[in-house]
C-alpha cells in the first residue's frame, strides 16, 4: 500500500485507457503522456498498461508501506526518495517507510509514478483509468486526495534501497522531430495529418495554420488544449456537421477560429470541423507542453506517422530489454 501524504486536485491513477465502450459514450481517458507511463512500466518489467499515478500538480508526496520498486518518468521534476535525489526517468528499489517527493518540474508538465505490478485498484469496464465524469476507475472514481491509500503488490525479497537504480534516456533525446522553418528555440513542433474538412478552410487560413505560432492557452487540461493565434482560421462556408466520433489529437476549429485539440478526457464526439490530427506519436510532447508554449505544425502523412509509432515502440522495446537485463542481474 502507498499513502498519499501531499497532493492537490487533478492527480489521478491512469493506465493506457478504456477501450470497447465508445458505443455507450465512454472514451478512453488514460495517461496524457502514455509513452512516459509505458516507459515507467518498462523500467520495472511491468506490462505496458499497468496503472500508475499521473501527477500534474506539485509537490506530490507519497509514503510506501511495503517494499517495492518505483520509477518516475515524464516531466523532469525534482524527485527525491527520503531526501536522496533521483535522476529523471529512474527506476529504484524502495523500502517500507520511505517517502517519495516530487517537486515542481523544471521541464514538462506531467510526471508518472509507476510501481512494480502497477497500482492495484480494481479494473472498471476493462481499465483502471480514472474517469471523473462517471466517477469510475482509479481510486474510488476520483482524483487523489490527502490520506488516500492505494493498494500495491508487495515485492518480497526486493533489493534494499541502497542497491543501485538505473534509468533511461528520455524519448526526446531519441526521437527527433522534423524542422519547421519559422520555429524559434523553445517552440514545440508537432506533426499533423490533414483531416476530412481540411479543404473547407480558406487558403489563407491553411497557410496561417502551417506557418504561424499557436500558443497553448491556460485553458488547457486533460480534456483538451485550447490554442490561440494571431489570425483566426476561417472556412469557405459555414455549414453544419452531424455529431461524429473524435479521437485524441483531433484539431477542431470552432466558429471563433481558434483551434482546440481534444485529448485524453476530451469529448468522444462532436460536430466542429476538423482541420487535422496531431499524430499519436507526438501527443506525449503536447501533454508536456506548458501554457504559453508556441506550437508549430508540420504536415505529415500516414506512412510517416506509422514510422513514428514504430520508433516509439522500438524505444520502449529497447528500454524493456535493458531493464529486464538489469533486474535479472540484481535478482541473481
Amino acid at each position: 500500500m502507498i499513502e498519499i501524504v501531499q497532493t492537490a486536485a487533478l492527480n489521478s491513477v491512469q493506465d493506457l485507457g478504456r477501450f470497447g465502450y465508445r458505443r455507450y459514450g465512454i472514451n478512453a481517458s488514460g495517461a496524457m503522456d502514455a509513452l512516459a507511463l509505458a516507459a515507467g512500466n518498462a523500467l520495472l518489467g511491468n506490462e505496458p498498461g499497468a496503472a500508475g499515478i499521473e501527477v500534474q500538480l506539485f509537490p506530490f508526496v507519497v509514503r510506501f508501506h511495503v517494499p517495492t520498486r518505483l520509477a518516475v518518468t515524464g516531466a523532469a521534476c525534482d524527485a527525491t526518495l527520503d531526501g536522496r535525489r533521483l535522476p529523471p526517468w529512474w527506476s529504484v528499489p524502495v523500502n517500507a517507510g520511505q517517502t517519495l517527493t516530487l517537486g515542481f518540474p523544471r521541464l514538462g508538465v506531467r510526471s508518472y509514478v509507476a510501481v512494480t505490478g502497477g497500482i492495484d485498484v480494481p479494473e472498471v469496464l476493462g481499465s483502471r483509468s480514472t474517469y471523473g465524469r462517471l466517477a469510475i476507475g482509479g481510486h474510488e472514481g476520483r482524483n487523489l486526495a490527502l490520506g488516500d491509500r492505494l493498494p500495491i503488490r508487495s515485492c518480497e525479497g526486493a533489493p534494499q534501497s541502497s542497491a543501485a537504480g538505473f534509468g533511461a534516456f528520455p524519448p526526446a533525446a531519441f526521437m527527433k522531430l522534423p524542422p519547421h522553418t519559422a520555429a524559434r528555440p523553445g517552440d514545440l513542433v508537432l506533426r499533423v495529418i490533414p483531416a476530412a474538412e481540411y479543404e473547407q478552410f480558406t487558403e489563407e487560413s491553411l497557410r496561417e495554420f502551417w506557418s504561424a505560432a499557436w500558443s497553448v492557452t491556460p485553458q488547457s487540461n486533460r480534456m483538451g488544449y485550447r490554442l490561440s493565434g494571431t489570425n483566426p482560421l476561417m472556412r469557405l462556408e459555414a455549414t453544419e456537421m452531424r455529431s461524429h466520433g473524435l479521437v485524441p489529437g483531433v484539431i477542431q476549429v470552432p466558429p471563433s477560429g481558434q483551434p482546440i485539440i481534444q485529448l485524453a478526457d476530451g469529448n468522444s464526439s462532436g460536430g466542429y470541423p476538423k482541420l487535422g490530427y496531431v499524430i499519436a506519436a507526438d501527443l506525449w510532447r503536447l501533454a508536456q507542453a506548458r501554457p504559453g508554449t508556441a506550437l508549430r505544425f508540420v504536415r505529415c502523412d500516414v506512412a510517416a506517422a506509422r514510422e513514428a509509432d514504430r520508433l516509439a515502440a522500438f524505444y520502449l522495446g529497447q528500454l524493456r530489454a535493458m531493464a529486464e537485463a538489469q533486474l535479472r542481474a540484481m535478482a541473481s
Binding site: 477501450f19 470497447g20 465502450y21 465508445r22 458505443r23 455507450y24 459514450g25 465512454i26 478512453a28 472498471v124 465524469r133 462517471l134 466517477a135 469510475i136 495529418i193 483531416a195 476530412a196 459555414a238 455549414t239 453544419e240 452531424r242 455529431s243 461524429h244 466520433g245 473524435l246 479521437v247 489529437g249 483531433v250 470552432p254 466558429p255 471563433s256 469529448n267 468522444s268 464526439s269 462532436g270 460536430g271 476538423k274 490530427y277 496531431v278 499524430i279 499519436a280 500516414v302 506517422a305 506509422r306 509509432d309 514504430r310 515502440a313
Partner: protein
C-alpha cells in the same frame, strides 16, 4: 436581466440544415477519411435515416472484434473505428471498411421504449423563448412538436447512457450557435441543427455544473432515470436503437 442574443441566423438562411430530411430512402455513397494514422471515419452521407443508421450499427458490430480494432463508435450517419496503428494500416483498413459497408445490411434493432416527462421552458429550458420566437411558434407549440414523435437513440452522447436522438420534426431544425454559451448540464432537452439531444442526468450528490454548448436548451427531464449504474445489468440505461417518448409535464412560461 441581460437580454440574451437571439438565434444568430434568420430562418431563411439555414440551407445546410433544411437539407437534412427525415427520408428513409436515401443510402447515398459513403466516404471514408483517415483520422490520423490510428482511426478511420466512415461517413454514410445522405440524410439521417433509420435504415442507414441500422446499417452503421451492423457494421460497427461486424468490425469491432477484428484484430487490431480497439473500439468502434457509431455517430450520426457515421462510424469511427479506432485502430492499433502498429497492427493495422489505416489506409488499407479504410478500403476494407468501405468494402464491408457495401455488403452490410441494416440490422433490425428494436430496443426498449422508455417514456420520460419533460418540463419545457423555465430556468432549465432557458433558450425556449428565443427558440420559439425564431420559429414563430409559441412555447406550447414547440413543446407539442417536440413531444410528438418517437425518438430513436442513434448514437452515444458525450456522456454514457444517453445520446443523440433521431426523429426531430424538421419544423424544429435550428442552427447551432456560432458562439457556445454556458448552460447547466443534466437531463437537458436540446436541439442542435437537425439533431435532438437528451443530456446525461446529473449524478446524485454531484454539484450542479455548467458546460459550454452551441445547442439550444428548451427543457429538461426532472425525473430522468439513472443512466449508468455498475450494479445494474446492463449498467447503461440506453442502448443504440432504444426508443424514447417524451411526455409534456409542463410548459413554463
Amino acid at each position: 436581466m441581460t437580454p440574451r442574443p437571439a438565434c444568430r441566423s434568420k430562418p431563411d438562411d439555414r440551407p445546410s440544415i433544411t437539407r437534412m430530411s427525415t427520408s428513409l430512402m436515401n443510402l447515398a455513397a459513403p466516404r471514408v477519411s483517415l483520422c490520423g494514422a490510428s482511426a478511420v471515419l466512415l461517413d454514410a452521407e445522405g440524410p439521417l435515416s433509420l435504415p442507414t443508421q441500422e446499417r452503421i450499427w451492423s457494421l460497427s458490430e461486424r468490425v469491432r472484434d477484428l484484430s487490431g480494432v480497439l473500439d468502434t463508435h457509431p455517430g450520426m450517419n457515421s462510424l469511427l473505428v479506432l485502430l492499433d496503428p502498429l497492427a493495422v494500416d489505416a489506409d488499407a483498413f479504410a478500403a476494407e471498411l468501405l468494402k464491408r459497408w457495401a455488403d452490410t445490411r441494416p440490422g433490425r434493432v428494436r430496443g426498449r421504449t422508455i417514456e420520460m416527462g419533460v418540463v419545457y421552458g423555465g430556468e432549465r429550458g432557458i433558450d425556449m423563448p428565443d427558440f420559439a420566437a425564431f420559429h414563430g411558434l409559441s412555447p406550447k407549440e414547440v413543446a407539442e412538436l417536440h413531444a410528438a414523435p418517437e425518438y430513436v437513440v442513434f448514437a452515444p452522447g458525450t456522456g454514457p447512457g444517453f445520446g443523440f436522438l433521431f426523429g426531430l420534426d424538421p419544423r424544429l431544425f435550428t442552427p447551432r450557435r456560432q458562439v457556445p454559451v454556458m448552460r447547466p448540464v443534466g437531463s437537458n432537452i436540446s436541439i442542435g441543427g437537425g439533431q435532438a439531444g437528451l443530456g446525461t442526468p446529473q449524478r446524485p450528490g454531484v454539484p450542479a455544473a455548467t458546460a459550454p454548448t452551441g445547442w439550444h436548451v428548451i427543457g429538461h427531464v426532472p425525473d430522468a432515470p439513472v443512466p449508468f449504474d455498475l450494479n445494474r445489468e446492463p449498467p447503461f440505461l440506453l442502448a443504440l436503437g432504444d426508443r424514447i417518448r417524451f411526455r409534456i409535464e409542463s410548459v413554463v412560461a
